[in-house]
Amino acid sequence: MLAMPNVPDAYEPISPSLTESRARIEAIFSDCHDLTIKEWSYGQDLEYASVGILLDTLSQNYRITYMSALIQDLSPLLGALDKTLTPDKLSHYWEAQGVSTHSAHLLDSIEQVTQSLTDGNVVFLLDGWDRAIGCEMPGVQTRSVSEPTMEPVVFGPHNSTIEDLKTNIGLLRALIKTPKLKFKLLHAGEYTRRDIVYGYLSDRVDPEDLKLFEQRLSGLEDKEILDTTYLEEWVEESVFTPFPQVRYTERPDVATSALLTGKIVVLVQGSPTVMICPGLFIDFFSTSEDYYQRTVFSTLIRWLRVIAFIMATTLPSLYVALSTFHTELIPTVLLLAILDTREKIPFPAFVEALLMEFFFELLREAGIRLPRPIGSAVSIVGALVIGQAAIQAKIASPIMVIVVALTGIASFAMPQYNLAIALRVLRFPLMILAATLGGFGLMIGYFLIMLHLTKLKSLSQYYLTGFAPLDWSRMLSSMIFRQPIRSMLKRPRHGSGGSR
């Protein structure tokens, strides 16, 4: 299904002369040291020449005996053919009957030959035949299916998608056993010719979503797509909003459940990341494990996430607003405790907050990029600098450190990493508003965010579906409570939304 490339526009016929064709291909692949040409003879006195051409870096486990295997296809039909085999017979048979084994296909032009070679196939040319055969080979080594690194769980399946597209689709197909599960293939890029596959359940998906999705994904032919995440910008409505409109996963069970709720999944060759769209606001608050644990516990965890969401967006700005504009709102005893720690700090609360947030972001960024053995050094230095020395040097107050640390922890508690990033971005404008207008400014900030969110759409769905337009049952069952599985499965799932 995947190997047959789309036919290039230009058409250059294959010469029946083997030497000519071979020279032509060698010219195209000049300066490609990994082009390997194996000569092979057949016929009664081995009088007929043929060549197998491949890029040996792509087909690492190649065996040139593929040719024998191809020919053995014919043996039951032609009898003792080793002796009587001629190029005419071979070509005649293949052209008339097609190729049956080993995912092979007939190639008509030089363009198809080169493409087949770069796809990692072995191409066989026969002397005196103006066509060629491409056989698929086991390709470049990929890692095997392993534990998910991004979304570990305690209960539930422990396998994850890998860099191989076929394996990933296989993982999904193995979980949803119906022909209604569709996978459509696209190619993108002139050089990378990336295979992009999107899948959906034909009777669950919202046709409008699908239409819009296909429309947005058209015209990728000349775009070099290196990873699934590249496609996010094609799929989403607004590129400049901080809020993510698609979800990512590397867990087949999450992708399966998304498909069952009518989402579209997108996979790209060479990337283990599965994109799920449309991604709605409430989707970002649930994880697969919510459904593997007890209802009550999962419900409490959801509340925790909502609180974490609010904390991650507003805690620093709330602190700035309270301490510079609304000191009356802080309980007296707490205020006095804060006063004690704030007294000798030279900076205004806003600058202090900005500084500490900056330190924190700096540390986080430094920690991500560093090689793992050095990574721990960052956390030690960070803990010392931010936690201890900054307080002793009177650059920041302990309460500010608590605020920044809690904000950081709260943003880590977001199940979807890309939503946490959105919150990091929003935190700073809110802090500025809080520092200039206090609680009033914060209110304006929230108001603008709410306005933005209500306007935002992910594919054809409103981003805030559940809240606006209001749908109590969906909001209660997918955000506020984790519905018991039995009652969730009793009725058909929401067309799109109630996710896990």
Binding site: F325, T341, G441
Partner: protein
């Protein structure tokens, strides 16, 4: 895009025109903890304002003093307060004031009116700040050292809270409650009273209540021991103890009843030229200390309950008689009458004191015994016969 310049303009207007620029960092404020109002010799207001002094010390270093007092004078509250800024160098923030103390001396001649006016009118001080009338100079109470709290202001606030909740020796009122109480129909208000046993170093305690008539203090107030019964009648009593004399040896031996819940209901009906007042008081509690009473059977308990009820009734009657003698409506019966019979009240208002002294009071006390504390309800160490 016509909309984006408009949006920018709207945003600028929002930030620049809304007037939200009254921004102060925490380190620019000086937080007022308490204020004591006294009278100077030339009848001006002398204000003692206690500020919190932030430590800035971390690592648990002992702090010298967590508060300091500023004395200012002025013709009225505003003037005295305006003078504070001259001394402190930071902006006084009144939002976290713990307690307002007003001395007996200044509470004469309706001075309380002006003081309360300032606190109610100004937006910063909280109306939930505690209030107390002090015996002697109010400023003296702010110079004491706190025991546990970081400032004496906080301690005084806690005292007024705990004495109301656990002893019933005095009341706890905030500025708003005081302002409402002073405006009663009868013009009589019962306000918390703070005293100290002697010198400046002696601890301050809540000690009974001060009585106000028409915004001026009426002497004498009611001391702690008697205030209990007054507060019971006013249904402002939470919990405390009643110590009653033993039957055999009333002089030296006393038992204690410890009540955890007290409630009273007062019914006022006009009767002839005066009113008939029926008060029902319910005391719920158990034995606090037994020195003589022995309870062996149910009838013993009934007898003791009867005894406690009689004792309490007697004390309440004493309070009522004293009140009638002074013609002071400490139970705000006039207000109850006003609510039920406003026309009658308007007729009687001017002669209320005289009518009150003729009123008939019927007091009934009910005791509910919830536990005996020990399994043997008799004095510890006594042998069962």
């Amino acid at each position: 895009m016509m909309r984006s310049p408009f949006a920018v303009l709207a945003f600028l207007a929002l930030v620049l025109l809304t007037g939200c620029w009254n921004k102060y960092e925490l380190t620019e404020w000086a937080f007022v903890q308490a204020v004591a109002v006294d009278l100077t010799e030339d009848d001006r207001i002398r204000l003692t304002t206690q500020f919190y002094k932030p430590g800035g010390g971390l690592e648990g270093a002992p702090k010298a003093s967590e508060s300091f007092n500023i004395h200012t004078e002025g013709e009225n509250m505003s003037e005295a307060i305006a003078n504070i800024a001259n001394e402190v160098g930071r902006v006084a923030q009144w939002g976290h004031i713990r307690i307002v103390l007003v001395s007996e001396q200044i509470a004469k001649n309706q001075n309380l009116k002006g003081i309360l006016d300032y606190f109610l009118r100004d937006h910063e001080p909280r109306e939930t700040a505690q209030f107390a009338i002090t015996k002697g100079l109010a400023s003296d109470y702010l110079t004491r050292k706190p025991y546990i709290e970081s400032t004496i202001s906080q301690q005084l606030r806690e005292i007024s809270q705990s004495s109301k909740r656990f002893t019933g020796m005095s009341k706890k009122m905030n500025l708003l409650q005081v302002a409402i109480a002073l405006k009663s129909q009868t013009g009589i208000a019962v306000l918390p009273y703070m005293a100290s046993s002697g010198g400046k170093k002696d601890p301050a305690v809540m000690n009974g209540v001060a009585i106000f008539r028409d915004y001026s203090i009426v002497q004498p107030g009611i001391p702690a021991g008697k205030a209990e019964y007054l507060l019971m009648l006013r249904n402002e009593y939470e919990r405390g103890v009643v110590t009653y004399p033993c039957e055999e040896n009333p002089k030296s031996k006393k038992d204690t009843f410890e009540h955890v819940m007290v409630s009273s209901t007062t019914k006022v009906e006009p009767k002839g030229e005066s009113v008939a007042v029926r008060i029902h008081l319910l005391l719920v509690g158990g034995y606090g200390e037994l020195r003589c009473s022995k309870i062996r059977k149910a009838s013993d308990e009934d007898r003791i309950k009867q005894k406690i009820a009689e004792y309490v009734e007697q004390e309440l009657q004493k309070e009522i008689s004293a009140m009638q003698a002074r013609q002071l409506d400490l139970l705000n019966i006039g207000d109850a009458l006003y609510r039920r019979h406003p026309a009658l009240w308007l007729k009687w208002k001017s002669s209320w004191g005289r009518r009150l002294s003729q009123a008939t009071f019927q007091v009934k006390v009910e005791i509910q015994m919830t536990n005996t504390g020990l399994t043997k309800p008799m004095p510890y160490g006594d042998q069962e016969e």
